[in-house]
C-alpha cells in the first residue's frame, strides 16, 4: 500500500517547532472507521448500460453461427431447446437483449427445472426496502461505515471513539473498542496502526484508524454498550456528522472504499 517510511520522513522534515503542550493538557481520542466493503459491483450508469447494450448488438451481428451439430448430440433435448431458442431470437427485434437476459440468469419468468441454479438474487435486499440501518445487508454496492449513539445524554451520531493515553497506543485502544462493541470474535481487520483522518481542534483531537468488517452477509452482529448503532453510507455519514468534522472526513469517507 503506502510506504509508511516516507510518511514518517515527511513528518520529520515538516516539523518546524517543538510541541508546546504536554499530552496531559490535551484530550486525545481514538476513533474507528469500521468499513463494510461493497458486496456488489458498481451499478452501471444509464450511459454505461446503453453502451453495453449497443456493444451486445454489434457482437451479435459480428458473431459466427453456433455450430450446434458439433456441440449438441443429434435428436437430444439440448438440441431441441437450442433450435427453439434460435427460432425465437431470429424473429425477435431485441435479440441481443433476450440473449443477454437468458445467459445472465435473470429471467425469472420461464425458469424451467434446468434454470433453478441459474436464477440470481436481486441486488436490492429486504433491508434496503425497509430502511433498516442497523443491518449490514443493505446498499450492497456501497461501503457502509459504523456509527453509534452513545449512552450519554447527548443524542449525537458519531464514529465509535475512546480516550487514549501515552501508556497505551492508538491501535490497542482501537482493537479494544471493536471487541467491546462486537464481541471478541468480531470479524474485523485493522488495516494499519497509523491514523487515516483526524477531527477536532486544539485540545480535543480524535484520530481515526481504519478497519474492515470481514463478514458482510452472515447474521447481523448486535453491537453492545451503545444506545443505538447504524451502518451508514457516505451520504448518510455526511448527514449525521457535524459540518466542521465533515470538512475533514469527506477526504476519507467515500461511496466505495
Amino acid at each position: 500500500m503506502f510506504p509508511l517510511g516516507s510518511v514518517r520522513n515527511r513528518c520529520l522534515h515538516a516539523l518546524s517547532r517543538p510541541t508546546r503542550f504536554a499530552l496531559g493538557s490535551r484530550f486525545i481520542h481514538c476513533g474507528i472507521l469500521l468499513i463494510r466493503p461493497p458486496v456488489l459491483n458498481k451499478t452501471p450508469s444509464p450511459l454505461e448500460e446503453a453502451i453495453y447494450a449497443y456493444n451486445r448488438e454489434l457482437q451479435l451481428q459480428m458473431s459466427q453461427d453456433f455450430a450446434h451439430e458439433f456441440f449438441l448430440k443429434k435428436g437430444s433435448l439440448a438440441e431441441k431447446t437450442w433450435l427453439e431458442t434460435k427460432k425465437k431470437l431470429q424473429h425477435a427485434e431485441n435479440a441481443s437483449q433476450l440473449l443477454h437476459q437468458e445467459t445472465s440468469g435473470n429471467s425469472g419468468t420461464d425458469s424451467s427445472e434446468n434454470n433453478q441454479f441459474l436464477v440470481t438474487q436481486p441486488r436490492k435486499t429486504p433491508d434496503d426496502l425497509s430502511g433498516n440501518t442497523r443491518s449490514v445487508r443493505r446498499q450492497l454496492d456501497q461501503s457502509l461505515y459504523l456509527m453509534v449513539k452513545k449512552n450519554t445524554g447527548e443524542q449525537q451520531w458519531q464514529f465509535p471513539t475512546a480516550p487514549v493515553t501515552e501508556k497505551t497506543s492508538l491501535h490497542k485502544v482501537a482493537t479494544q473498542l471493536i471487541t467491546s462493541l462486537a464481541g471478541s470474535d468480531a470479524p474485523y481487520w485493522l488495516v494499519a496502526r497509523h491514523p487515516v483522518a483526524s477531527t477536532g481542534t486544539g485540545d480535543e483531537k480524535i484520530f481515526y484508524l481504519r478497519a474492515r468488517w470481514l463478514q458482510d452477509y452472515a447474521d447481523n452482529i448486535e453491537m453492545k454498550g451503545v444506545e443505538d448503532w447504524a451502518w451508514c453510507t457516505a451520504n448518510e455519514v455526511a448527514e449525521r456528522v457535524s459540518p466542521s468534522a465533515w470538512t475533514r472526513l469527506q477526504n476519507t469517507v467515500f461511496e466505495r472504499v
Partner: protein, 107 residues
C-alpha cells in the same frame, strides 16, 4: 504416438483454427458510422472521467492520512512512534470477499 484417431483430432483442430469462416464485417452506412464514432467518443470520455474521479479519491485519502499523521507527530511523539512501528506479522485477510454482480444465495 500417431494413430488414426489422433490424426483425426489434429485435422479437426486445424480446420477449427485455420479454416473456419472469418467474422463478417458489420455493414454500416454513413449515419451508422457517425453514430458509432459518437458512441466511442462518449465511452472514452466517461472512462476518463471515472479514472480522474478515482485518482482524485486516492489522492485525497493519502493527503488526509499524511496530514493526520503529521498532527499526531506534533501532539505526541510517543503515540506517533507506536503508530509507525510495523507489526511483525502483517497479512491481508484471506476471508475477504470480492465484489460480485449479485448477492450470495445463502442469506
Amino acid at each position: 504416438m500417431k494413430t488414426p484417431k489422433t490424426d483425426a483430432v489434429f485435422d479437426m483442430l486445424r480446420r477449427i483454427l485455420y479454416e473456419s469462416p472469418g467474422r463478417k464485417p458489420i455493414p454500416m452506412d454513413t449515419a451508422a458510422l457517425r453514430r458509432h464514432e459518437y458512441i466511442s467518443l462518449a465511452w472514452n470520455l466517461s472512462r476518463q472521467e471515472k479514472r480522474c474521479q478515482q485518482s482524485l479519491q486516492l489522492r485525497k485519502q493519502y493527503q488526509e492520512m499524511q496530514r493526520s499523521c503529521q498532527e499526531l507527530y506534533e501532539i505526541s511523539r510517543v503515540l506517533f512512534d507506536k503508530a509507525m512501528a510495523e507489526p511483525k506479522e502483517r497479512r491481508f485477510p484471506v476471508d475477504m470477499r470480492i465484489p460480485t454482480e449479485t448477492p450470495p444465495r445463502s442469506a
